[in-house]
Symmetry: C2
Subunit: 359 residues, 2 copies
Amino acid sequence: MASMRDVAEAAGVSVATVSHVLRGTKRVTPAVGARVRAAAEALGYVPNGQASALRTGRTGVLGVALPDLANPLFPALLQAVEAAARAAGFLVMLHDTGNDLALEREALGRLVALRVDGIVWVPAHDQGGTRLVRTAGCPGTGARREPPLPDVPLVALDRPVADRDAVFSDHVSGGTLVATHLKALGVRRVALLHGASSVTSSRARRRGFLAEWDPLTPVWEAQSGFGPELPGAVVRRLRGGGFDAVACANDAVAVAVIRTLERDGVRVPRDVSVVGFDDVPLARLVSPPLTTVRQPLGAIGAAAVRLLVERMADRARAARQVVLPVELVVRGSTEAKHVAKESVGQSVTARAEERSRSA
Amino acid sequence: MASMRDVAEAAGVSVATVSHVLRGTKRVTPAVGARVRAAAEALGYVPNGQASALRTGRTGVLGVALPDLANPLFPALLQAVEAAARAAGFLVMLHDTGNDLALEREALGRLVALRVDGIVWVPAHDQGGTRLVRTAGCPGTGARREPPLPDVPLVALDRPVADRDAVFSDHVSGGTLVATHLKALGVRRVALLHGASSVTSSRARRRGFLAEWDPLTPVWEAQSGFGPELPGAVVRRLRGGGFDAVACANDAVAVAVIRTLERDGVRVPRDVSVVGFDDVPLARLVSPPLTTVRQPLGAIGAAAVRLLVERMADRARAARQVVLPVELVVRGSTEAKHVAKESVGQSVTARAEERSRSA
DNA sequence: GGCTTACGGTTAAACGTTTTACCGACGTCG
DNA sequence: CGACGTCGGTAAAACGTTTAACCGTAAGCC
């Protein structure tokens, strides 16, 4: 592949001049500029990013490490991050960590080795984040002491990492929004299906929900994970019935719940309302369309890149955390109980959908 | 960040020795080996990928350029490619081209500039692929003559690119499978919703379908695109009715069709059967679960990486094309017409699902 | 005309690796 | 005892850029 030296020879100038022309770092005679450009074009010259990165210390690449692309939230999030990164002039390097701590460590290691300018990281487990960044391993146990992550600009998404920048959705008020909505619908008995309890956001949503919910009303809680397969215990309990609404860990779980209920002849939302979380594209496509809490993916991506850029400018700056507002999107999977149904349910749906579109 | 030179000084050896120890390229005294490794660990040394890439000419990175992450097929495909790449020791660099030809060109350019070892590319439009790779532009029109893509190992997915390796699903037999299935169900009048006609795979499916379909039976055809929003003309025509089945460009379109039909009181599959394409995760979650044609994503990813590796070994090798078999997955959105419904429809569903799981 | 300045361009030193060639010491063998 | 191969380690060149320092020439100024 043609190098700068080849271009220089073809144009009859020095490599320095070629560099200056191509990057516009110095004024040159129009004639020389034209000669150089012509030569570069003729040879199909493509600057070697490796070499210039080595020299300048900047690669123009952001690394992204995600737990699982199969969860539809993450492609959407990735797209948002990629768009923000591109707007800021960065390419994106992707690593799917498959929810595996070892893979996650390796992923971060490779990103650092490639000297990416910054890392956007959704840790698989939230304890894991901090452990991976700090010096880890149990001294004295003989376990190999894992080295800490070098001081690379890094922003954690949705999970806290000690002493690092982070961006969160406001899961607490997400939980509160769900509780408020269900209360307004006249729901009395509710089932909460949480994701993994090790995930901060799950706990935050629960906190937000319970803060708003009448403390005297019984609430049934269980772990459902984040995948479309419900644990057997949850399925059995859903069959048991006895609740007016189910609030789910995410949209995939909500869809699974709806299918399970319908298979048993329970009608959604007439008999039981179901609320999801995330508002993935799927949510508006299923039947009934999901009432859910929308995460501000675009804002998350933009904030993440912004934090990284700020940190590149000032490595010593104190860690900053950004919390972004979420939004309840009312669709067809929830409906008023014990009160005039059509009017309330429908009008709320229409209004909310309208607003979210114009936003 | 600590460099090799720092490690060498700390260990009291030369940089060459450090390199040899860390890469195991030469035998060293156990004592020296231990000293070097200890120093590296103590300093938190991470080799500089840029530098070694510059020296060796290999980056260990594969570039991936996709049209649109919002289409759920592509995250799934990306995951497959990433898994295959990782298995072969490569990292993946992602670029979402947003179905935009200019962005696509820029994406490929940046990947080349970063000297990725290979590129996996799903061209947005299939004429675009070839045009981008060859020298383009219209000489004489004054349009800036776009330079051809340098000779980087590159594999095109699902769209042909002149003189390059490529991997396809067997869309022709995909179309045939759909036709055969619908015929067996007793469907007489069918609507075909195609994606963009500029996409090779769409044309191939149509060809496969019509080859199997009774040429005397009228077929209604229209372009629906690939997104979840149906064009107005298609919606109006669907409302008109008059067919027993709709074969769709992909699963998202199929879901949109089902919703549209149901809104008009048409029951799926009882009144009309609907068939999707791709078998994205969404397909089994919607109601009714989609009968669709599964693309062998894992095999596609593996084949793509394999082709790239082969070409790295032999740059002059002739371009090779790999066509991979697809599979009909029968679920609940299709049902037999004019014959005993429950028995045929259900048993076929059960059998097919069983087989696809054990596979 | 001699002085300074600005301009257009070049030289050469980095950046952090990998790798070839080399070198001294040591053991072996004739 | 001398020649020789082997072993462990090092010196130095190279990869393709960027950029600070430098240098001749021509223009500007008194």
